[in-house]
Amino acid sequence: MGQPVSGRAELPELAAVRWRPRATARSVATRGRIWTLWSLAHTVPFLGTAALLLSLEPWSAPVALAAVAHAWIIPELYAARGAAVVRPKGARHLRSEPVAQGLLGDLLGHEERDLQRDTGLALEPGALGVWLVGEAGALLVDPGGRRVHCFCVRVPDPDLPPSDRIAHLLLALRTDETGFATVANHAFAGMPWRIRRRLTVRARPALAAALARPIAGP
């Protein structure tokens, strides 16, 4: 690397979302708690209904079972939507991808490079937690590893090879982490096991690596 350069610390993309307050560790944690309450709001009434039905009339067990299924399925659907942010998307651009992969590899450390090649996700420790950056979204494992936040964010250029899409997001994240979290759309937050079940088998080791990574915190 050359000498340090001076530049801007704020993402220019923030201009497109001026109405959004800048993300902070606290606001991200609050979003996580809201998602927990939201999931409970979808789960507890159905479980309560199932318990009430069974206590009133044991023959209503099939209906109670349907209520329990609803209590399980609705949070699962949200988790599936969240995990989908890091699924590979768009054309693979097989001819240009090796060139892009080389550049992305240069931006990553040795361990992170190997992990990205194996899982498709670039691990990036930050002040808000540990990020896993994909082609069109990112996961954020919060300090303590209790929740995983799912962010939908992309570079709107379908001609870019997958590794270039990741490199775009990685460079933006490194430039301004809270700005990145502000520009990105928060899609879901939930416990790691909930997200893990919905990740591709290939991507799961990346989440395990992020959970194992010590987090400095803000």
């Binding site: 000498q3 550049l103 990553l108 709107p156 490194r174 520009v183």
Partner: protein
């Protein structure tokens, strides 16, 4: 030798190369950088693991300057 590259459909393209003390090459690199800014690209210098700096003027002292597209919430 320092490089100015652009992430694009080819993976990346080298737009300019220069060495310190070569005014002609530096001038060409600055012109190429400005042309990319005009096309909506953003200049970034990777400062090592975990850090990057957005630049509005070509930092001639940098080894590598990368032009990227703006990102957006999906």
């Amino acid at each position: 030798m320092a490089k100015l590259i652009r992430m694009d459909s080819t993976g990346h393209s080298t737009l300019a190369e220069w060495t310190a003390g070569d005014p002609g090459a530096e001038e060409a690199a600055v012109a190429a950088f400005r042309a990319q800014l005009d096309r909506g690209y953003i200049g970034v210098v990777s400062d090592g693991p975990g850090h990057a700096t957005q630049v509005d003027d070509l930092p001639l002292e940098a080894d590598l300057v990368i032009m990227r597209r703006p990102i957006a919430g999906g």
